[in-house]
């Protein structure tokens, strides 16, 4: 038996985020939220562990009422319970980790599974912070997870090599994208997921402190932008630059 908590992150659909041409600021208002790609792999992995070892999968998502579609997707893949924590809208990793940790502490679990680094804010800090807040060891960037008795064994994918590491549970496991290929759930499961109740828990707003935002804007390109359509002119120019650079 392995009880798994899986953490799901929602983020703005980055393809739909446009840049205001005057202010250079991103236009995120009214951009629909989508599930962060690694979270989908995390849900898939949690469900695979349940299918292999039995147990329960509880999904936790920081969001609001509009997030139910994302949670239903997790249900369709095979999550048993879903909790949406409503009221947290900060983007400060320290606060995010604290909100998540206080919820995780209330739920019996052997493993907490989450993505290693999200595609929008790219901080990669949550796994380590949760490990310290919950005092559970972190097995990071897993490409494979196996449970043997009361231990969990992970293939950790690093830049230079892969290492096999092991600890007694409970533990935090962050996953790498190559761990699995998320399934496309059958229609029956998608329909059943739609009827499944989601627990929504309101929390008081968390105020970020310590970090002040000065600006958030798209960088301007300072390149020369000499674009040639006439190759008789363009190629000699490029060759000159390359020859200069080779010196």
């Amino acid at each position: 038996m392995v009880d798994v908590i899986v953490l799901i992150k929602q983020m703005p659909d980055l393809e739909q985020v446009k840049i205001d041409s005057n202010t250079r600021e991103p236009i995120v208002k009214n951009v629909p939220k989508t599930v962060e790609i690694l979270s989908e792999h995390a849900v898939e992995e949690a469900v695979r562990l349940k299918e292999k070892y039995k147990g329960k999968v509880t999904a936790i998502l920081l969001g609001n009422e509009q997030s139910s579609a994302i949670m239903k997707k997790a249900f369709a893949i095979g999550a048993d319970e879903g909790i949406i924590i409503d009221g947290y809208e900060e983007h400060n990793p320290a606060n995010t980790a604290r909100v998540l940790a206080s919820k995780i502490k209330e739920i019996k679990h052997d493993l907490v599974i989450l993505g290693n680094q999200s595609a929008d804010s790219i901080t990669g800090l949550i796994p380590g912070m949760l490990s310290a807040l919950l005092n559970e060891p972190l097995l990071g960037n897993a490409g494979k997870i196996e449970v043997t008795g009361t231990n969990v064994k992970v293939t950790r994918i690093l830049e230079e090599d892969n290492i096999e590491i092991e600890v007694p549970m409970p533990s935090i496991v962050s996953i790498s994208q190559e761990i699995n290929e998320p399934r496309l759930p059958p229609v029956m499961q998608i329909m059943a997921a739609g009827r499944k109740p989601i627990k929504t828990e309101k929390i008081a707003p968390v105020i970020s402190k310590g970090v002040t935002l000065v600006s958030n804007s798209a960088p301007r390109s300072e390149r020369k932008k000499l674009v040639f359509e006439d190759m008789d002119k363009g190629i000699p120019e490029v060759v000159k630059v390359l020859k200069e650079g080779m010196k």
Binding site: P12, L14, V17, I19, V28, P93, A94, A97, D120, S121, I122, T123, G124, L125, P127, G128, M129, S131, A132, L138, L139, G140, N141, L158, E159, E160, D161, N162, I163, E164, E166, V167, G210, V211, T212, L213, V214, S215, N216, S217, A218, S221, R223, K224, K225, L226, V227, E229, M231, G234, I235, P236, E237, V238, V239, V241, L242, K243, G245, M246
Partner: protein, 296 residues
């Protein structure tokens, strides 16, 4: 100010030391390999950790050195290990943290930092009293200093995690992060065999070949260690030549530090031209042989 700078990667460690040595006194921390290779970039002292390193034990060690050395700020390279360690450290020290920085300046104890956001679409400029920073690779060129660091060997505290085995990754030899000229191929190459047409150019400029995310991860035309981008390597060569690279923002985030950017693409609206110094609009299979011919 006094900085503690950690990386298990020699390139990142020397870049960070080069970048920070003008702003304060630097104490370096590395593993055996990174500490010895980064010992002449201007750090006052270099701690060299013996044996296996895991995020929980590195966090403990850095916290001890922070106290012992009277450090103001800790910098860790943004690697898998670095990000995990930074997260643990910020909780155990109760200290503020700003991740993935690619620029920092200080005004008293206040830090002003920049980092990419929204998948690289925007840059966040922030002010904080943070004590811990993770540093995006490529923050600076690595420039040697005439000062040699005193190297002090030490062991990391015992980790809760047991290492069972280790498999080195297959790598194609050379490291694109050190290349002076990079020829980067993208989806626009059309087929894996197209690489044969690009190779003469790579050889002619004595460069290294690299690829975008689709080329390295989705189609696997090149190894993972040749991927440039937000999720791959961040490079800053003297010249970057993009061939059939469309210029998705995640890719731009990995090559923005290049001194000169050349792009070849048949689509004149490709975003890469906005990020290029020189652009050639046309069929790469016709253009490349002509460039090679003129170079020889």
């Amino acid at each position: 100010m006094k900085f503690l700078v950690f990386s298990e990667n020699a390139g990142s460690l020397s870049q960070m030391i080069t970048y920070l040595r003008e702003k304060g006194e630097v104490i370096g921390v590395g593993v055996e390999k990174s500490s010895s290779e980064a010992a002449n970039f201007g750090a006052l002292r270099m701690y060299s950790i013996k044996g296996d390193i895991l995020s929980d034990s590195i966090a403990k060690l850095l916290e001890e050195l922070f106290k012992k050395e009277g450090i103001d700020n800790i910098f860790l390279s943004s690697s898998i290990l670095g990000r995990e360690t930074a997260g643990i450290l910020s909780v155990s020290m109760g200290a503020g943290i700003v991740p993935e920085i690619n620029e920092i300046s200080f005004e008293g104890s206040k830090a002003r930092t920049k980092r990419f956001y929204l998948g690289g679409k925007t840059v966040l400029e922030e002010e904080s009293q943070a004590k811990i920073f993770t540093v995006s690779p490529g923050i600076s060129d690595a420039i040697k200093s005439d000062k040699n660091s005193e190297v002090i060997s030490l062991s990391a505290p015992v980790s809760k995690i047991k290492i069972l085995s280790r498999q080195p990754k297959k790598s194609e030899g050379s490291n694109i992060e050190n290349a002076k000229i990079i020829v980067c191929i993208g989806r626009g190459l059309g087929k894996k065999e197209g690489i044969e047409s690009v190779k003469p150019l790579v050889e002619a400029v004595h460069g290294e070949i690299a690829g975008s995310r689709p080329v390295c991860l989705d189609y696997q035309w090149l190894g993972e260690d040749r991927q440039i981008g937000l999720s791959g390597k961040k490079v800053r060569p003297a010249i970057y030549v993009g061939i059939g690279v469309s210029g998705q923002i995640q890719h731009i985030a990995g090559m923005r530090g290049s001194k000169i950017v050349i792009a070849i693409n048949k689509d004149k609206t490709a975003p890469i031209f906005e990020e290029s110094d020189y652009g050639l609009v046309g069929d790469l299979y016709q253009i490349i042989p002509k460039i090679v011919e003129k170079l020889s």
